[in-house]
């Protein structure tokens, strides 16, 4: 179809024209199933959750609009304040550990070794195995009576009395951090490995020629070039960890004495067990504004890079 050049033709009109060209219409048609699914499965539940968080709705009753009352009340709730603290401790420590261990593992896997591909594949197992199954196994491993971890540690003499993995507030947090790190490490390692493999070997050769080795190469070449990958992976992991549910729910259910209660487990108890879905939605969405800002800043940084 020739561009419109006759009287009355304008930039806006040609834009509208572009929108309704057969190719454009075909494009809309092809993406419409995806848009429909995203609207129904993502956008609608999200908007509904935001609306419910602004009401005093309980199960079976429509509730009424209360504005930000749920959020303000949460700030006065000592249990919620502890939940916020727990969530930050849990997220920051697991993401940090995954990042650190992920880089180390990626550097190791980038070396030549026998059965390298097999090792790389096996590394993915914690990530692939359904979370609830693997966490149930950890539950048994940390059991107060039958813990195989305590059995081994006692046997080799590393500890003289058994560790209350799930019964002490400190050790319970350590336990959930260990399990989350174990589960998420493959994602970090494989992502960093992929990043490492894109770094040109010539850079290392040139550095070697100039006398830079080992740690100098790591700080000056590897880490800077890996930064975009690190940024993306850390961003995703932070969001996923703040929203984590299965690991804490199965291992400790937020206990003992709320020591591992995080947003998702508290929202579950409040909304689905106690029936206060307005408040439960507010708990789930509490961090959304902050996370949105983090995402925007991170994406700007990545665009710049």
């Amino acid at each position: 179809m020739p561009p419109s050049t006759g009287p009355g033709a304008s930039g806006g009109s040609s834009y509208a024209h572009r929108l309704v060209r057969p190719e454009a219409l075909t494009g809309y048609f092809l993406i419409s199933p995806a848009v429909f699914l995203m609207t129904v499965l993502l956008a609608y539940p999200f908007v509904l959750a935001v609306w419910i968080s602004l009401t005093n709705r309980v199960l079976g009753e429509p509730g009424r609009f209360v504005g930000l009352e749920n959020f303000l009340k949460l700030l006065q709730d000592p249990l919620f304040r502890q939940t916020v603290w727990n969530s930050f401790v849990y997220t920051i420590s697991t993401v940090f550990l995954k990042m650190l261990l992920g880089i180390i593992l990626a550097l190791l896997l980038n070396q030549e070794m026998p059965c390298r591909n097999l090792v790389r594949g096996a590394l993915l197992l914690p990530w692939i195995v359904p979370t609830s199954l693997s966490v149930l196994t950890w539950l048994w491993m940390f059991d107060s009576l039958f813990s195989v971890v305590n059995y081994l540690l006692l046997g080799v003499g590393i500890i003289s009395r058994k560790i209350p993995w799930l019964g002490d507030p400190f050790w319970a947090m350590v336990s959930v951090v260990i399990v989350n790190t174990w589960r998420g490490l493959p994602f970090f390692a494989i992502s960093f490995l992929a990043g490492l493999m894109t770094i040109p070997k010539e850079l290392y050769e040139a550095a070697e020629t100039d006398g830079a080795r080992g740690m100098r190469q790591f700080w000056s070449i590897t880490l800077p070039l890996l930064q975009p990958v690190i940024a993306v992976v850390v961003l995703f992991s932070t969001i996923w960890t703040f929203a984590d549910f299965q690991i804490v729910y199965i291992l400790t259910h937020g206990g003992p004495i709320n020591a591992t209660q995080i947003f998702a487990t508290m929202a579950y108890d409040v909304a689905l067990v106690a029936g206060r879905i307005g408040e439960g939605s507010a708990i789930s969405l509490f961090l959304f504004p902050a996370l949105l800002v983090v995402i925007v800043l991170m994406l700007r940084y990545l665009r710049r890079e």
């Binding site: 005093n56 259910h253 003992p256 067990v273 106690a274």
Partner: protein
């Protein structure tokens, strides 16, 4: 450029079905099937779906399946049971209430009728005749199922939580019977622990065992979470302080730290592994021993919860059967519940449970199941002492929320972990005030 039509690879005689014919046949088959379903539903073949928990005693679920099949055959109404994990019931119930779709009959735990009363129909026309015919309902039955003045559930049964103890170990330290008071239990616990047989009452996230062990202790020492009208928080009292001090002492002299990590199955496993001597549990430990450890069954016995200065109390999980308002077969659902509660069916069900479930109609206090084993007789007394969270106030949504948030259990747990009595009570008070301030 259009290509000439390629000759078909399939000979004309081999092509048995054209596109048009295929569409015609499929459409006709679909219409026929739909018509059949329509006719069938039009003929009144009602279907009642029941959602309930998957009992650890599978034999009881088998009885329900058999009874459903029998009812379907006799009455021409198809009844089907769906059994799910106990911990999934609240979520499934919430989903059904919010979506307005799901089972016709739902099993409601404890104060479920209060939490979901707006979504449930009035079943007084089932509950009241049953009460009249079968010697009346117990007080706890009305507490859980009557909201305002309306029956929102038909009390189905209660899982009595008793003191389960090793009689041989108690005899070794000079106790032929389990003590009747908390003070005496403290003395016994120390003696047992000194012999390497600690007691164990869950202080972790055990929604059943944790709450069911500690609410009675709170009440027995005169403590309470709220006032009689259920409106004001009253946890900060001398009675509560005595209860916390007692629990701390019990933990110090008689228990291991394992209890802080326990869920609802942990004390069962600990008892069967002979790691503990005394715990609070349903008859499920005794039942499991029959299959897995018959030698332990000889030396396991049951007792009432001890008395404290303010009396003897218990807290056990009671179940009701509710009918959802969205159900299209409400009349048939009520009729089935009524049938299920009649002596022939009900007795067969609790009989298979061997003491795990007790009836909430006074008629079933003399059920033959309590005569099958002398060690089960004491369990039938327990419902008399049972109160609901919120006692002495009514079982409200606030009391239910406090229970699922483990406010009372955590209060005792903090005390046992070293927090001072005033501090741990103050923390609990703060949590309760936040809950009770809501509408």
């Amino acid at each position: 450029m259009r290509h000439p039509k390629q000759p078909s690879a399939v000979p004309a005689m081999g092509r048995t079905l054209s596109r048009r014919s295929f569409l015609g046949v499929t459409a006709s088959a679909t219409a026929a099937l739909s018509f059949g379903t329509f006719i069938r539903s039009g003929l009144g073949a009602a279907k009642v779906n029941v959602l309930t928990w998957s009992n650890t005693l599978n034999a009881m679920d088998d009885v329900l399946r058999e009874q459903a099949a029998q009812y379907s055959k006799e009455k021409g109404v198809e009844v089907s049971f769906e059994f799910i994990n106990q911990t999934d019931l609240p979520t499934k119930t919430a989903a059904a209430v919010e979506s307005g779709a799901g089972p016709d009959i739902i099993t409601l735990w404890s104060d479920g009728p209060h939490l979901h009363d707006k979504a449930l129909v009035d079943v007084g026309d089932v509950a009241e005749p049953l009460g009249r015919e079968l010697k009346g309902w117990t007080n706890i039955a009305k507490d859980i199922a009557v909201v305002g003045k309306t029956w929102k559930g038909v009390p189905w049964g209660i899982i009595p939580i008793a003191i389960t103890y090793r009689s041989d170990w108690c005899k070794e330290v000079g106790y032929s019977k389990f003590p009747d008071t908390y003070d005496e239990m403290l003395v016994l616990s120390k003696k047992l622990n000194d012999k390497g047989h600690p007691v164990g009452f869950a202080l972790g996230r055990a929604i059943g065992d944790g709450n069911q062990s500690h609410y009675p202790m709170l009440w027995a020492f005169g403590g309470a979470e709220c006032t009689k009208d259920g409106k004001k928080v009253a946890i900060n009292s001398p009675g509560t302080a005595k209860a916390v001090d007692y629990r701390r002492e019990l933990h110090k002299v008689g228990e291991s730290d394992d209890v802080f990590s326990w869920d609802d199955s942990s004390n069962n496993r600990a008892f069967l592994a002979e790691a503990i001597s005394v715990t609070g549990n349903a008859a499920s430990i005794y039942w499991a021993e029959k299959k897995n450890a018959p030698q332990l069954r000889e030396v396991t016995d049951h007792a009432l919860w001890p008395k404290g200065p303010a009396g003897r109390f218990g807290y056990s999980t009671a179940m009701s059967l509710g009918v959802f308002k969205f159900s299209k077969v409400q009349k048939e659902s009520k009729a089935f519940i009524r049938w299920l509660m009649e002596p022939k069916q009900y007795s067969a069900w609790i009989g298979r449970g061997e003491g795990q479930i007790a009836g909430l109609l006074n008629y079933y206090e003399d059920d033959p199941v309590w005569k099958t084993d002398p060690k089960l007789e004491i369990i039938r007394e327990i419902p008399k002492y049972v109160r609901m969270p919120g006692y002495p106030g009514p079982p409200t949504r606030h009391a239910a929320e406090a229970m699922v948030k483990y406010v009372i259990v955590n209060m005792f747990a903090r005390g046992c972990k070293g927090t001072s009595t005033p501090e741990t009570i103050k923390a609990a008070e703060g949590e309760l005030q936040e809950i009770y301030s809501k509408a």
